[in-house]
């Protein structure tokens, strides 16, 4: 790093967008297409799936065979970063836990997500009115529906029209057909009273009308590695790169780590300052509008670090709620193998890299008298996967549980030709499931600035305070019981994931499901919300948040589709208000 200096640019952009994930990508796309001159700042490197994807590499092409030594989900996974990043620490209050996953790169966490694309339903937006828990959003499903419809058409999603009350249908491409183990799951779940319907994922099972840049899925099942033909939704391939290509209105600066929002004498946003990770220099850029889409916690961090005379508590934080109401989804998983599938016939069943089937939440905590509010959906997996690091681990816990080819009970473990044959016999028999449920948005669960710690660029870091309540633990217990029943019904042997009250029934720590939202929640009353219903700061009219931060209370649905819908809605509002000179 050279001598310290701050580089200031005189260019005034129509909008500065911080972040290039689902929220930032959508905001940049809409604004650039509306003629705005947009500066997009991304904290990580450039990434184009067409050139940088690890799709279709074989395990044996790498000496580590896919192990996750530098990437949490394996070396072929597209997402950089993880729960721990060198030089970018965060802290937690004693006795609490929150694991913070960050992926600094073009497209952010849309590079590895499961492409599971579920709409929040009417009760998710108005939960308090429905069952008295938490708070209502200031908007309802009918306000967001037109945007869900638009992103369905723009980005592509498969699924089926089911007419379920709180699982709204979209505009769907045909879903992929179920795999063999999924037929077993569906039959077993039905017996347990759990519905199973085709999955809903943003993968192009058919060519997207009017889009020549993206091709139809060729079923390698590797969406998490990023798709070279743009057959699935990533913010890079579907939003940022097209916005650059077709509008010339989007200027992208990568490796730009934003410190704070800069304000003028009246307290309005006038730009942002950032450190460029490549040259180590400090930059200040100007914009008429600033949109934070750095991820729920990163945007909260930027706001809390943006202190001035007009905003002594951090910009837009008159309510003191920036960072509060942080909530992740709950998660419990369990799995094993299906003895009936031993020695199964081989064929290619890679399918799509998202879910082929899932179980939407089927109960009603009021009607069914459950001891926890809201619920969860279930995702399933199994079958033939490309062998990678970890394949065959723990055979000594499996091969003693079933008779051999001659019907004789085997001794667990072993070696030699007989053992070698066991790996073949068990290939493709595994089956597993995971629940993703509603975590409650509580004021007590929050992130704040740690007064004592900075990252390697001198930016004060976040300190987390998060504890599950009994409600989430009871929900986890319900998941355990349901999963065990489904496994039992299909004759599967459970080999992992069984947990009791001693460790909260296997409930994952907050942050592990990577659905954290709520840190800049929207509302009508500036005293108990950070943003208005357009995701606009109550206090700073040209400051907006377009990530998961504005979400008041998450449903049991994965949040990406809602982040996209809200970002599109907010962006259109910015365009309209700018035309009227209201911003």
């Amino acid at each position: 790093m050279g001598t310290f200096q701050i580089k200031k640019s005189d260019t005034v952009y129509d909008a500065i967008v911080v972040g290039s994930g689902a929220g930032g990508g959508m905001t940049g796309y809409v604004l650039a297409n509306a003629g705005f001159k947009v500066l997009m700042l991304e904290a990580g490197p450039y990434y184009d799936p067409k050139f940088h994807s690890q799709q279709l590499f074989w395990s044996y092409q790498s000496p580590r065979r896919g192990a996750g030594s530098t990437r949490a989900f394996g070396e072929f996974d597209a997402a950089y970063g993880g729960w721990e990043i060198e030089g970018e620490p965060y802290t937690t209050k004693a006795g609490t836990q929150f694991d913070w996953f960050r992926s600094h790169m073009l497209g952010g966490r849309t590079n590895h997500w499961g492409r599971i694309s579920l709409r929040f339903g009417p009760h998710d937006f108005k939960g308090r009115s429905y069952d008295g828990v938490g708070d209502d959003w200031p908007i309802g499903y009918e306000d967001v529906k037109p945007y869900y419809d638009k992103i369905d058409r723009l980005l592509g999603i498969y699924g089926t029209v089911e007419g379920l009350e709180n699982e709204p249908d979209g505009i769907f491409l045909p879903p992929p057909k179920p795999k063999l183990h999924e037929l077993f799951v569906a039959r077993a779940a039905k017996k347990a009273g759990v519905p199973v319907i085709p999955g809903r994922g943003s993968v192009l099972t058919e060519k997207l009308p009017g889009n020549e840049d993206r091709q139809k899925c060729f079923y390698c099942g590797q969406c998490n590695r990023a798709c070279r033909i743009y057959g699935d939704f990533s913010s890079s391939s579907c939003l940022v790169i097209p916005a650059q290509k077709y509008t010339q209105n989007l200027e992208l600066v990568c490796n730009a780590m934003v410190r704070e929002v800069l304000t003028d004498e009246e307290g309005l946003a006038k730009g942002v300052s950032y450190v460029n990770k490549e040259d180590g220099l400090e930059y200040q850029v100007k914009g008429k509008v600033v949109v934070l889409a750095a991820s729920a916690c990163s945007s909260a961090r930027i706001m809390l670090n943006s202190r001035s005379n007009r905003h002594p508590n951090g910009i837009g934080n008159g309510s003191d709620l920036v960072g509060k109401y942080l909530h992740d989804s709950t998660g419990v998983a369990l799995g094993g193998f299906l003895p009936e599938l031993l020695d199964r016939k081989r064929y290619n069943e890679d399918g799509v890299g998202s879910v082929h089937i899932y179980s939407p939440w089927w109960k009603d905590n009021r009607r069914d008298n459950l001891d926890f509010p809201r619920g969860y959906h279930i995702e399933y997996w199994g079958g033939f996967d490309m062998p990678a690091y970890g394949f065959g681990f723990g055979m000594h816990g499996l091969n003693g549980r079933v008779p051999d080819r001659n019907g004789q009970q085997k001794e667990a473990g072993g070696y030699g030709a007989s053992l070698k044959d066991d790996y073949r016999r068990f290939f493709g028999t595994n089956v597993g499931m995971a629940g993703r449920g509603t975590g409650l948005a509580l004021k007590e669960n929050h992130c704040e600035i740690d007064p004592n710690v900075v990252d390697k660029w001198g930016i004060p870091v976040l300190r987390f305070h998060y504890k599950w309540t009994d409600a989430e633990v009871r929900q986890a217990k319900h998941m355990q019981e349901t999963f065990q029943e489904i496994m039992h019904n299909m004759g599967a042997e459970i080999t992992w994931g069984l947990h009791g009250p001693e460790n909260s029934y296997g409930l994952e720590a907050p942050g592990r499901i990577i659905h954290e939202v709520g840190t800049t929640r929207m509302g009508d009353d500036p005293r108990n919300s950070v943003l208005n219903k357009w995701c606009q700061s109550h206090e700073v009219k040209n400051l907006f948040v377009a990530d998961g931060g504005p979400i008041v209370q998450q449903g049991d649905k994965n949040c990406t589709w809602t982040i996209l819908a809200l970002a599109m809605r907010t962006s259109e509002y910015i365009v309209e208000q700018s035309k009227r000179n209201n911003i």
Binding site: F57, Q61, S62, R65, L180, I197, C220, N348, M395
Partner: protein, 212 residues
């Protein structure tokens, strides 16, 4: 990032990294740095990942004696049969050498386990495991290969053999030979049309089971 610029930057960065790294090593333990990486280790990889891989590929962890012992054990666990070759023919010892550098938590259990094995064989036969006859080796293996019937004093050997079995199996079945052996048919463009008709019938499903 521009690829040419990217590689140039990586080149410079890795020289610095290797110098720094060597400076911290005792003379005898110094290793080289790999010059060329396979394509998979460069496409879309971050600078620090590329530097790390070049360093790891240039390092040596196991001694010649340890690696020879690993090779013997690997072929006991996965021998050649009618379908495919043995663990060593599939490159399992090379895989294990790399993976313990990549995942250092394997290092102590593997190194210690190999030494445990040599101590056990020298107790019984006054020789290192690799110098034993096949019958002598199999006598020891018989005492550590069956986790549900363990004689007192053999527990650590069983734990080591479990790890050795896991790493051998993973190394074998993720190799080109192993993937062909196990019959994985995917990782190629195709049209997923659902479960094949004969498989569908084999497991007793009918059209009512098809999820729309």
């Amino acid at each position: 990032m521009n690829r040419r610029k990217y590689l140039k930057f990586v080149g410079v960065g890795s020289v610095t990294a290797s110098v720094m790294w060597e400076a911290c090593q005792p003379e005898a333990e110094r290793n080289g740095v790999a010059d060329n990486l396979p394509e998979v280790l460069e496409a879309g990889r971050q600078d620090f990942e590329i530097e790390r891989d070049r360093r790891l590929l240039g390092e040596t962890f196991f001694t010649e004696h340890e690696l020879a012992t690993i090779a013997i054990l690997a072929d006991i666990i996965i021998p050649r049969d009618d379908t495919s070759g043995s663990a060593t023919e599939a490159g399992v010892p090379e895989f294990i050498e790399f993976i313990v550098k990549d995942i250092p938590s394997h290092q102590v259990p593997m190194r210690g386990g190999l030494r445990w094995l040599d101590m056990e064989s020298s107790r019984r036969f006054e020789k290192a495991f690799r110098d034993c006859t096949e019958a002598q080796r199999m006598e020891i293996v018989a005492d550590i290969a069956w986790p549900n019937r363990v004689n007192p004093g053999m527990e650590q050997g069983v734990a080591f053999f479990n790890r050795m079995r896991d790493l051998t199996a993973t190394g074998f079945f993720t190799s080109e030979m192993g993937i062909a052996d196990i019959g994985y048919q995917g990782n190629q463009p195709n049209e997923w049309a659902g479960v094949p008709e004969d498989v569908f019938r084999q497991y007793g499903f009918d059209s009512n089971d098809i999820i729309r």
